[in-house]
């Protein structure tokens, strides 16, 4: 799965979660760019991503992902393990 495909999957998960079809994620998207993507929705998003890809992030990583790109990369790293 390429990074672009992962990004598309993340976009779908977040759109479903927030009920907003207009969301477009890019590698450099940060949480502040998306209205209503607060800390609570963030955790839901993370768990949904974990379930989708069958992985588990470390809590310290969850806390410090600087942008969407970092999540995409972390998924790659976790699946590569």
């Amino acid at each position: 799965m390429t990074e672009q495909e992962r990004l598309t999957t993340l976009t779908r998960i977040l759109s479903d979660l927030l009920g907003d079809e207009s969301i477009e994620l890019a590698m450099d998207t940060v949480r502040e760019d998306i209205p209503e993507w607060d800390s609570f929705n963030y955790i839901n998003f993370i768990v949904a991503v974990e379930a989708e890809f069958g992985i588990k992030f470390r809590i310290v990583d969850v806390e410090s992902f600087p942008n969407v790109g970092a999540i995409v990369k972390a998924i790659g790293a976790a699946r590569g393990r």
């Binding site: 479903d16 979660l17 009920g19 907003d20 207009s22 209205p35 209503e36 607060d38 800390s39 609570f40 929705n41 955790i43 839901n44 993370i46 768990v47 949904a48 974990e50 379930a51 588990k56 470390r58 809590i59 310290v60 969850v62 806390e63 410090s64």
Partner: protein, 540 residues
């Protein structure tokens, strides 16, 4: 030593800076050691014995962190045990000084336990320092911090601009800055630092402090059981909200400015919280460094674990547009209430703080519930925001102001009395002087329960004018961070893509107009120095 004292501004600070620049020109390590040393002096100034309390705690924490660093890869179970021990040690340290009396008092009240209460002296800033130490241990355990020496750790804990009342900082955002600090005089850093410092000083001394004596008698009367009319109750509520906002955000500006003198940027603490349009929004603007801490170290780990567990059991979690009551209670309401209760208890050992935390927890839950389950009658998000943002602002403002009564009131019953006053349970009182000039209207006002009172009409007028003008500043003007945005006054602050309307003429720049303006602000602040006025947050 207070930031707002002659000793600090004209004695301590110039000496600290001169030494830092002089040593920095030779070796940066010396400059950093100097900074640690003056920070200890700053801390000891208040009560030298405090150093005897904080120093051992620093050493123990450093030892634990070293042990964690060595075991976290090789022996995870042992590392976990060390982490838990470290957290318990710090919480006990805080608990002994801050909560022992409260717990014993509560046991006495409830069971007649007969504990003898001893007056313990609270080491200055212990709540802030404790949180930062716990965060450091968690970060070392999680591998977010590597490579640290006792000198690094000491400076991180003691760095005097943020030592007593925050902003609460993370090691990983401070240490790279200390390592890269030029240790030399830098015109931009000093100009930005001076501006932030004097803005803060004026906010604290000119705007916040005069409100103190204005609201104190009202809370005093409420505590003595004297009902307050709507007029007094709202003055008490609005007056204290404005006092604590200008006090604490003024303190935070001063801290940012002080850090900047040394080339260090501290994190954002306030971003015009009274302009918030929802309670969630309020907590992203008020005491941001505390919200960030609680989210990172309590709320997120808790919710993540709960959500994973729930998912593993096959129960519904959040997602899509079908909010589920069980998921809401377990994954949102419970962690939110717990986090806000911790926040309340952290602020002080007292029922009012606990209730204040609980109240904000409930408000946050209501806000989340609305977001999840609000009727979808608006065609799109834009239309929804246009209609509902003003409503959200009013609801948030009133909730925040009402909750602040609990924060200031000496007891829950005093707060209750003031709340009843705010909704008009004890009528409205206007000054006799105003009443006698109203003619026929006075008779009509009396019939709806307005009473002539307040011997001084001019006092009410002056109070009202003060509160209205401060509200205008807090709600309409851009904040310090927005004015200085081009110079990154706090970590990560950048100029907004769409700057607020009023910012146009108020964008900070190093020119003559600003020099004169800031000199006036500084003068106003310095002329108000002298009276002993502590920061409200130094008690926590």
């Amino acid at each position: 030593m207070l930031f707002n004292s002659y000793t600090f501004i004209f004695g301590f600070l110039p000496v600290a800076l001169a030494g830092f620049y002089a040593l920095g020109a030779r070796r940066r390590e010396w400059a950093l050691l100097w900074l640690t040393a003056v920070s200890l002096v700053f801390y000891a100034w208040w009560r030298p014995v405090n150093v005897l309390l904080i120093a051992p705690s620093i050493l123990v924490n450093y030892g634990l962190a070293r042990a964690l660093e060595q075991t976290s890869e090789a022996r995870p179970a042992l590392a976990r045990a060390i982490l838990v021990a470290g957290i318990i040690f710090n919480l006990c340290f805080l608990g002994y000084f801050k909560y022992l009396n409260f717990i014993e008092g509560a046991l006495n009240d409830t069971f007649g336990a007969g504990f003898v209460l001893t007056q313990l002296i609270l080491p200055l800033g212990i709540s802030f320092i404790t949180f930062q130490k716990i965060a450091f241990l968690v970060d070392v355990h999680g591998g977010r911090v590597s490579r640290f020496s006792l000198a690094d750790y000491g400076l991180f804990v003691l760095f005097f601009p943020q030592l007593i009342a925050g902003p609460i900082v993370h090691y990983r955002e401070m240490m790279p800055q200390f390592r890269a600090a030029p240790g030399r005089f830098d015109a931009e850093n000093v100009a930005v630092g001076l501006s932030l410092f004097f803005f803060g000083l004026a906010k604290k001394l000119v705007l916040a402090d005069p409100l103190g004596p204005l609201v104190a008698p009202l809370y005093g009367q409420a505590a003595a059981g004297v009902p307050q009319s709507m007029t007094e109750a709202w003055i008490a509520a609005l007056g204290f909200t404005l006092q604590i906002y200008f006090d604490f955000s003024g303190y935070s500006d001063m801290a940012l400015g002080l850090g900047r003198f040394f080339g260090i940027k501290l994190p954002v603490n306030f971003n015009s919280p009274l302009k918030a349009t929802s309670i969630i929004d309020f907590w992203l603007r008020w005491h941001v460094s505390l919200t960030r801490f609680l989210t990172a170290y309590i709320y997120n780990p808790l919710t993540l674990n709960l959500t994973r567990r729930r998912m593993a059991k096959g129960k519904p979690i959040f997602g899509g547009r079908s909010p589920n009551i069980g998921a809401f209670v377990n994954l949102l309401a419970m962690p939110t209430m717990l986090t806000m209760l911790v926040s309340g208890i952290w602020h002080g050992a007292g029922y009012t703080y606990i209730l204040w935390g609980a109240l904000h927890g409930v408000l946050l839950c209501i806000n989340h519930a609305w977001r999840l389950a609000r009727p979808r009658i608006w065609p799109d998000t834009k239309a929804y925001r246009r209609k509902m943002v003003p409503v959200g602002f009013v609801l948030t403002f009133v909730s925040v102001v009402a909750a602040m009564v609990l924060f200031r009131a000496p007891s829950p019953s005093a707060a209750l009395l003031l709340w009843k006053g705010m909704v008009g349970a004890y009528g409205v009182r206007l000054p006799q002087a105003v009443f006698s000039r109203l003619g026929v209207v006075a008779g009509w006002l009396t019939s709806i329960g307005v009473q002539p009172a307040w011997t001084s009409g001019s006092l009410l007028l002056a109070t009202t004018l003060r509160i209205v003008s401060l509200l205008a500043i807090a709600l309409l003007l851009p904040n310090t961070l927005q004015m200085l945005a081009a110079f990154e006054p706090a970590i990560g602050v950048k100029p907004a893509k769409t700057p607020p309307r009023l910012l146009h003429g108020l964008t900070w720049m190093p020119d003559r107009v600003w020099a004169v303006g800031l000199a006036c602000v500084a003068l106003a602040g310095i002329l108000s120095l002298g009276e002993l006025s502590e920061f409200l947050y130094w008690q926590f």
